[in-house]
Symmetry: C2
Subunit: 200 residues, 2 copies
C-alpha cells in the first residue's frame, strides 16, 4: 500500500450526508486496499466565507425539506437508524476537538462513528458536553480527561489549521474526499468515485 | 405498463448536470420498463425565489470550480463529449419554448438531446436563435415555422405553468425526478434511485 492509495475523508459532525459516508467508508475502502485518513473540520468558517450564517438547508427551505427526506431514504436503504436532530445544525466545536485528540491517540474513527450514531441515529444533542462524555465513557475512555486534552491550545490550533487547509483545498461542503493527487469529490454519493480514483 | 411506472424528468437547458442525466435516462428507463415524461422548466424564477440572480455555481466560486471538474470527470466516464459553455449560464427561454412545442409534436426528446449536445458537447450558445434553428434543421424540421409556433401565447403560458408546477412540487434545482407517488429526487446522481422508486 503506497501513499498513492490514500484518501482523505473530510467530515464535519453537523453535516447530514457525512453520517452515511462515515458509516460506509471503512468497508468500501478495505475491499479496495485504500487507506483512509479521517480529517475533521468546521464548516462554519467556510459557510461564513460564502456569506451564510446558518446551514444552507435552513437558509433554503425547499432544499432542506428535500435533504431530510433524501437522507431518510438513504438511511433506510442502508439499514441505518435515522432521527432528525433537533436543533439543527448543532455546535460541533467540542465534538470536533475531541475527534482531533482521539485521532492522534488512534481511536478517532470509533469515536467519530459513535458521535454520528448518537446525533443522527439517536437524535441526541452532540453540542452538549454530557453527550460527548457519555459517548467517551461507552468507548471505555476517561471522559473528563479526554475532554480536558481536547481543549488544549495545541488541539484548538490544530482544528483551526485543518479547517484552513480544507478551505485551501477548495472544500466548500461535507463530506469531501481528496485523493493523493489532489482530486476533490464532494458528497456521500461521490464516495465510490473517490475511492475508485484513489485506486488508479 | 401502468401510470405507476411513470417518471417525470424535470430538466432545464442551462443546468449542467441535466446534460448527463438527459443522455442516460432513456436507456436506463427502458431496461426497467418505465415511461419517462420530459418536462422542461425554467430555473430562473425558482432561483430568484431563493434570492439568487445568477447560477449558484457563479455565486459560489468554490462550488462552481468543483462542479466543472466533476462534470468533466462524469462525462469522461460516460464517453460524452464535454466543452465548458461560455457564457454560463445561457438564456434558455426560447430553447425551452421550442422544447414544449416539440414535445407536443412527439419529437421533443430528440430535440432536447440535440440541444444538450450543442451546448455542453460542442460549446455552442443555445441562447442564439441561429443555434436553435440549426439544431431544428439538422433534425429535419422547418426551423422558422417551429420557432414561430414556440412563441405562441399557448406555449409561453404552458412553460410558465410548468415552472409553477415544478415549484409547487418542491423542485429547487435540475435535473429533478418525480415519481407517480410524489417522491422527489434531485441530481444526475439520483437518477437510478428515482427509477428504482418508480419501479416499486
Amino acid at each position: 500500500m503506497t501513499d498513492r492509495h490514500l484518501l482523505d475523508f473530510w467530515f464535519e459532525f453537523a453535516s447530514t450526508y457525512s453520517y452515511p459516508a462515515a458509516m460506509r467508508i471503512a468497508p468500501l475502502a478495505k475491499t479496495r486496499s485504500i487507506k483512509v485518513r479521517w480529517r475533521p473540520f468546521l464548516l462554519g468558517p467556510i459557510f461564513k466565507a460564502q456569506g451564510w450564517d446558518n446551514s444552507p438547508f435552513n437558509l433554503y427551505p425547499a432544499k432542506g425539506r428535500y435533504m431530510w427526506r433524501d437522507l431518510e431514504r438513504i438511511c433506510a436503504a442502508l439499514g441505518l437508524p435515522f432521527v432528525q436532530p433537533d436543533p439543527f445544525p448543532q455546535n460541533t466545536l467540542l465534538a470536533s476537538r475531541v475527534a482531533m485528540a482521539a485521532l492522534m491517540q488512534g481511536w478517532g474513527e470509533d469515536y467519530s462513528l459513535a458521535i454520528y450514531r448518537a446525533e443522527f441515529g439517536e437524535g441526541r444533542n452532540i453540542a452538549e458536553p454530557a453527550t460527548i462524555a457519555s459517548v467517551l465513557s461507552a468507548l471505555g475512555h476517561n471522559a473528563e480527561q479526554v475532554i480536558q486534552q481536547a481543549q488544549s491550545d495545541a488541539i484548538k490550533a490544530g482544528l483551526r489549521a485543518q479547517t484552513e487547509t480544507a478551505q485551501r483545498l477548495g472544500i466548500f461542503g461535507a463530506p469531501s474526499f481528496v485523493t493523493a493527487d489532489g482530486e476533490l469529490f464532494w458528497g456521500n454519493d461521490r464516495l465510490e468515485a473517490a475511492l475508485d480514483w484513489a485506486k488508479r
